[in-house]
Amino acid sequence: MRSHNKIQVLKLLNQHLGVYPTPINLNWSWSWGSLSGLLLGSQIVTGILLAMHYTGHVDHAFASVQHLMVDVPSGMIIRYAHANGASLFFTVVYLHVLRGLYYSSGSQPREIVWISGVIILLLMIITAFIGYVLPWGQMSFWGATVITSLATVIPVVGKQIVYWLWGGFSIDHPTLNRFYSFHYTLPFLLAGLSIFHIAALHQYGSTNPLGINTQGSTIQFGMYFASKDLVALLILMLVFAIIIFFSPEYLGHPDNLIPANPYSTPQHIVPEWYFLWVYAILRSIPNKAMGVITIGLVFASLIVQPFVSVVQIGSPKFRLIFERLYWVFVADLFILTWLGGQEIMPATMLMGQLCTIIFFAFLLILLPFLAWLETLLLI
């Protein structure tokens, strides 16, 4: 008997990665999932290498990063691979989520896949935010101050909770040290959740671009989609290499090259680009508490999608209204991202509020309505 049919572990790998029946009509947007997994692996490897040279103390953190960049052999490559890898990771995951929205991949019976995916996204955001604090630049320090202070909206115990989070009365060494510890731990949690995410998917198998039942036309994942994903990976690595070796600082903020100064706030505090859309939504709500609740609502409205919009048709090819309005939603996300980086002025405030309304209207009103309408028309 062949080893991969006999030995338990190999049998498991062969079943889920070798012979796994995959719909024959998957297109390029189904590659984002495996690419995200590989990028997570890359982040973990570069992260472990970084941890050999980084010092997690407020007096030495910034200098240790400079030491890594200048003294350590290939240190610059490892650092830029990790920093830009995070941006690439978010790009790929966002495209993966958008694919899920477009093809209604999260609708019945794959609710668990969708919900575990949103939890993965949340954990990614927390990990990335904490990771950005570690170099201890100006933007690291002040971004951390702004976002951790959001916890003061909690009534009665808000301030105590923030002091507890900080391990002191302001962001200082205790905060940095615990952030280092969390930043090292959470990615392994992410890896475990990703395995769960794939296992949940494999309960029913992949959806397909036509949304039809493809049980009778599947091919094994093994050589076919492994090769397809390999091509996608090669293109991704090309983009990765171009970013790292030709413009590694483009996605960063120059203020983070100034060591953190607790007495001087930079003029414009902006998070990394992948947070800008959430930041725009937060800033467009004038009330602090409502702003934080709105952020929670963003992820809540993502999680409840399989339950509020019960989509029967799996492909936008057959849902023409949804197909047009989906791109309005995508444009809305781009505008929100741009707004997150702008100064707060009456014009941008108004635009932000409009875009936030469109965002929630799409997720909580339009999608459920369209799903209901299609069900009605089907009957």
């Binding site: 290498l49 240190g75 490892i78």
Partner: protein, 264 residues
């Protein structure tokens, strides 16, 4: 089986272009094997391919359509399996040489060489990043000003994280060390071989037993004594008594002008 089949085909082919001598005994075989080589040669000669008797081209199996655009279905259904007639005007096919497994395997193998070299590069970059960084390497050499050392005095300096003993020896001490017979030594080395300038003894102050730092001016041999397990070193840093196996290590050093020495 495949070998026998290919040999039979080869013999068949050679038979058409060479006398019976090249493939004896195949005449009987020929009566059994189907005739495989008719009507393809015209195309070869027309298109100017080198007429090589030993190989065929995939285009041998294909005949260009005649003047008509449409091939009759009955014509297609009656054609034997190796005389497939394709309508060139409605079909495209792989260029000769790029169809089939050999070409595909070559492309895949080329790709695998590239993946292997990419993986090798990543692994090497990651592993090499663990070696000494530039600031550590910069600290790997130490300059010591010897003008402050008095005759008979031993000083200790820190070099590469380890203590280094520098002993300014008197002439009597040098002579005493030279007089020691090699038979008395566990690790036989002459004193002159352990110094660049006999006046200055420079040795690494780490006991060769288990790594403690010996105490200067102690022990029975006018040298050092290691308190951990009782090793005695003499005025040349050689082990005389005790569990240490080797003499104190002599690092690389050279003397500079102005009474300085650079270690490492």
């Amino acid at each position: 089986m495949a070998l026998r089949r290919s040999l039979a085909l080869l013999c068949n082919r050679m038979l058409h272009f060479a006398p019976e001598a090249s493939c004896p005994g195949t005449m009987s075989l020929l009566k059994v094997l189907p005739d495989q080589n008719v009507s393809g040669n015209d195309i070869n000669q027309q298109s100017g391919f080198a007429s090589n008797p030993l190989r065929t081209f995939a285009s041998n199996a294909v005949q260009t359509a005649t003047k008509t655009d449409i091939v009759s279905a009955s014509q297609l259904s009656m054609s034997p399996t190796n005389k497939i007639m394709y309508n060139e005007f409605n079909h495209t096919r792989f260029a000769p040489g790029t169809e089939g497994r050999p070409f595909a395997y070559f492309v895949q193998t080329g790709g695998r060489f590239l993946y292997a070299s990419a993986i090798r590069l990543v692994v090497l970059k990651a592993l090499v990043s663990l070696s000494a960084a530039a600031d550590t390497l910069a600290m790997s050499s130490l300059e010591v000003d010897l003008s402050s050392v008095e005759e008979g005095q031993t000083i200790t300096v820190k070099w590469r994280g380890k203590p280094v003993f520098i002993k300014y020896r008197t002439d009597e001490e040098i002579a005493a060390q030279a007089a020691v017979s090699l038979g008395d030594l566990k690790d036989a080395q002459k004193d002159v071989d352990r110094v660049v300038d006999p006046k200055y003894l420079i040795v690494i102050g780490v006991c060769t037993h288990l790594g403690c730092v010996p105490i200067a001016g102690a022990g029975n041999y006018n040298g050092w004594f290691c308190p951990c397990h009782g090793s005695h070193y003499d005025g040349s840093g050689r082990i005389r008594e005790g569990p240490a196996p080797y003499n104190l290590e002599v690092p690389e050093y050279k003397f500079l002008e102005g009474g300085k020495v650079i270690i490492g």
